[in-house]
Symmetry: D3
Subunit: 290 residues, 6 copies
């Protein structure tokens, strides 16, 4: 995306720096202001969710509180809980910023940061999970589990609050994503909808996948058990994976096989979680025939 | 369905004619009236959604406004937007009528037009998408995208507002359907739940499937990239398709193969999107063995 | 789970006995009381959903009424309907108890009965379906279908009210489950998310799968047509099954094959629906290679 | 009102008899059915509040639950509380019936029993008070006081739950009525809006008015202290009364004087609480001059 | 108010002309825009109620629909009813404009037309009554009475839908106003809170006051019976009036007397309903002594 | 009230001290905890409004936000506004504490501080006004006026945000209270329901009453114009006052007269706003005769 597309003129600060959060918030407000002017029917929505707030964490807490509330879990209670958590944890806020960047730059259908903040259920589910995870680590399990349940009802995204998720994550479309209790997801990972990082049965313990940095997992892929998906690996859409996948390789099919073969798998150079290349392996997938 | 099952006695007018909309609305009101009399507990619901309205577009706009509203996007605003759009676009209303017919005649579990109008989230998501698409073509992108987001939250159906969808469409069950920005769906297509018409990565441009008239896509099928599914083709449940599928053929499996083989695929005569025959290819699917 | 984990000290009564319901309700209240004391932010939620009620059926009816209501189907109406149905049908209540036990003992992420009662959308969708099914058998189809629609909107679980479901069922994660009109599910079955028990086309009649007792169906499996999945069979994640599967065998893949081969399939001894062993067949799955 | 105006044809049973409640409920349903047929826009409202219910107490409990609920006091909880109380107390139900008769026959603007049941805030506030009073006598003060508060917020009628109120009461218009803790109101009393039955200061004890049977209290009258308003007395609009009023006499003015003079007050024969004659004393009111 | 205070620069058109409605709407939008810019916390409210609408009747219908809705009378239904009525009756819209002018120019606490439109419950109750009255004259009594009930619940203003009300009316503060079935209110009348225009008993027929043009009725005044308050008369606060009051005179007290005496009452020249002079008669009120 | 009635055992700190707020909050929590234990049906309400909060200002902000919100003014926005204002202004919080004490010790029907905090609309309206007044002084008029409107809709209490109100105020019952823009109310004043502190016409400027410290104003009293009610004066119920009232005297009647006569009015020693003695003047009121 050329820099000229930004709504504000200050140069984009270093990723992860303190300035980036402020820069991004200014950008989001500028986008929302432009949209409110162009579309009066949406202006009320944009003011209540973005333009009336003084910071990204207030806007996000308001939006999540209103999205996830129910008749028995009031929006004011959730707003308070989200705002307290985001306000007191700079790492959480940095992860939010990185996730907004991930959606904005990896998904060609994402037209603005404000678009992602307001409309991407994968983004919103992930931020709410980050708060649930924080509560989990503070031994507030019942609240964390209630929050997981609301996220699953509202966004159809079911992430156990104990699951560890890195920064710069894109859950694209997101409907039907399931992530189990002992799963770990690295940084800069992209996960499409209907993806399962599931367990292996009724035994407890460490039983869910470990996803390395930069991995791309295609729509409908199912990865089961305490397996390791190496850094930069790519999992094809609809694949069923039950064994480790080496770094920088591509696994496809049900059951999944490595492109290039088990012993001499093709290695790619890019970071699929960022390049989002779903389909370039087709020519190499020898038995893919229609 | 024998004509005798209709609640009103006037003969069924020609499909697509001006009279058909009026005929269908009279039929829906008769069905709702019968149900309200038989079930007092549901009468309030039937009056508020159907029997108190003077036209199909008012009933549908009311129902969509109440289903898709949130605390920050009020039902009255949405109702107004839906009603204005449907009232001013006869083609939209004709598509709605064709979609109601599609559900009523293709899905054996659909017991009445009123049942579809009130209860089929695939039908409702599709009608809301038609309005979002209209907004998109009027350069009202932010509103169209907000509507897409609400449809995805409420119905778990995520259709980009730019996607073009024909008439006589059945989204059966519908949960988890994802349709990308540059996808095109022809007329008389039937699509089961969990179906993805997805893109190929982070590059923009024309990157989603083109689905021909009369196609049937089974549950959980994933079709990725700017590929062409020919008229009357059939995609088996759970298939992963990344290459063109010829007309009147059947693709199954992950990766998908043509039934009958790549070079001599079996050709069927029916229109699968209308006949809804999911499974007759089994005997031909040579390596399908349990 | 060691008995010592229970919150109340009376010994666990015989499953299915009259005493079990009372024992379980006492257990749930003790769990909720402990959580309310530990987490004031959740106490209001726990009192309104559990601690203010005098019986499990009142608590469940209240919770379902509030979850499934909409602006046109009020919570009080639904509460009344649920409470009347549960109060007058001891078999329904026994099934609820068995389902709570199933979640508690099969899912290692389930930390308490109260956790399941409040937060498991699969459990809640199943109980609401049981009521819809009862209404269906009482010739109250329009109400049953309206309820199905609400369950599908709110929980993304779409079970036709005519489908017959046994006791001791675990719908784990549950998002995207679809169960057709003539499907039958036995006792002690475990079904993961995205599972489809679908039909075969637009013809009516008996057209959906029959699932035997003790079956385990993995995430994303699609079973189509009037096929029989034998007692104790196991269906691998992502499988597409269109033909009968013998008892105590394992079917995997797309198209599904029997582990051990069509003619000499491996037979397991356990009850997979209860043991929840998803992945032990891997070593036997000869062509599973990464 | 001539009997011919009733919607049902069975003769009106004896007041207070067991049959009267059933007769009245049949009448109300007939009225609501007529209105629902004449006015589709109101049919949903009439079905949800009246026509979907099997008894007057269910209809009233539903209506009060929905009127008095708030985001922190849910309608289902209130519905349950109202229904339990009305179901278990025949005297309460008889008072409700008598109050409906009072409104129907004394207020010429009351066009039907259904009109009163649905729309008269004085009637609704009084029924809710009857339940609050029952709770008060059961030593459930906090709940009774919370209910008083909701009645005061929603209907602008503030009756302390300890106040004792007879049967056949008409609170006409009702806005601004205040009735204190130790007030007692007899049978067949009519009280207009803005009437205060107030106390005398900060001392506790018996400190509010006692209103005899058949009394009529005009709009804006203020009666303060433990004074006795005799049977059949009439209090003029805007009067301020701080001393006992003898039976069958009329007090008017600020400060109030007896019509006819203190020593030879005029005595009327009718029961003003039933005849509702507000103004016939004018000619006798010697110093009333314009 | 000097013209310079207006937000738009076009000259104020003739009262009652077609142009005035457009001029006023432009003025209201300009006021709302100024307030939205100055107060981001209120911008969402101002956009949803005013700035997103294309006409005064749409804004007013939206606002009334959202204010008067309940869980059993949905906002969309009310919005539709209000919009249809206002759109089809230019006289109603002219009365609304005259009422806005009345509040703006008579009440020194009214800072803008938008302030009145959004915040004055007397104004809103009066506009809703105008619609209820229209429904009443169309023989839609049940709907009109349901609307009266909602107005009384929400605004504590109880006006019978049959009452006839002129143009340019100010209900100031408005809490507790009661206007009976056969009351008539002329043009340019100002009525303070707690005012009753009441009936005389349980007999039907013409039984409520007739208020002439330009009358001012002070807070808490009670006028009972089919009496005539002459043009330009003034009724003092707290007065109780049961007999005709001649034009241009002032009645005060309980019972009310004419200032200047019954036979030689003082006559004023101004139009009290417009000048709002509540208290200038004090020096003439001979027995007013503290 | 004997100290033994308090729920907590620490001695009552000095009024207005920093410790008093903490002491009172501890007292309120103890009261709420006792009630929650005694009444499970109310526990959810008590936890959400009081027991889940860490301070009085959080509890009050939550309660006011939920009471005053509407579909166009969300509870989260109001909660934020209340919390910010109370948190940053110790004088506001001290006034809240003094008002709670006023209700608790002057009103014999007030059984606990929690009772007042949750259920007294006069108390809640006054606290919301204090915030509106603060916004007014910060030149945020549109927001202050919107808040005034919500208070008037919800509590039927209409206080202009510019009005100045002291500490230790009891608005008892409160329905129908109207306080104008330039009114001033001193400390330790008690005001009953239906009281008007009104203006004199359409001229702006200083035009409303000034109420001295310790004044008691009876139900339905109307005080109009820029008049001075001296310290410790008492205004009888239903009085209409248009001229100054000297300190420590009692004015009664319509028009109001001084008890004891204009030239030799009786003087009382107590502080009526605190002693709440409404009626002891009766024997002195020579022309009060029934």
């Amino acid at each position: 995306m050329p820099a000229g597309e930004y709504m504000n003129n200050t140069p984009h600060p270093t990723a992860g720096s303190n300035e980036e959060e402020a820069w991004l918030w200014a950008q989001i407000k500028a986008e929302a202001r432009r949209d409110a002017e162009a579309e009066p029917a949406l202006a009320s929505y944009l003011y209540s969710t973005i333009l009336s707030h003084s910071s990204l964490e207030r806007s996000l807490s308001f939006h999540l509180g209103n999205k996830l509330c129910s008749s028995t879990l009031l929006s004011t209670l959730l707003y308070d809980m989200f705002l307290n958590t985001f306000s007191n944890d700079a790492a959480l806020r940095a992860a939010t910023v990185a996730d907004l960047r991930a959606a904005r730059f990896r998904d060609p259908a994402c037209v603005s940061f404000a678009h992602c903040l307001l409309n991407y259920k994968g983004f919103l589910a992930c931020q709410a999970h980050r708060v649930a995870h924080k509560l989990w680590t503070q031994c507030r399990q019942p609240l964390a589990l209630a929050l997981q349940s609301r996220i699953s009802d509202v966004f159809a995204v079911d992430i156990h609050p104990a699951a560890k998720i890195g920064k710069g994550i894109l859950f694209d479309h997101a409907t039907g994503v399931v992530v189990g209790e002992t799963a770990v997801i690295g940084n800069n990972v992209s996960i499409l909808h209907h993806v399962t990082l599931g367990g292996t049965g009724k035994a407890g313990g460490d039983r869910h996948p470990k996803i390395g940095d930069g991995v791309l997992i295609g729509a409908g892929a199912t990865i089961l058990g305490n397996v390791k998906i190496g850094e930069g690996a790519k999992i094809g859409a609809g694949s069923v994976v039950l064994i480790d996948v080496p770094p920088q390789t591509t696994a496809v099919g049900n059951p999944a096989r490595l492109v290039g073969g088990k012993d001499t798998p093709s290695k790619h150079e890019d970071v699929p979680g960022e390049s989002m290349d779903h389909t370039s392996f087709i020519s190499e997938w020898s038995d893919y025939i229609i």
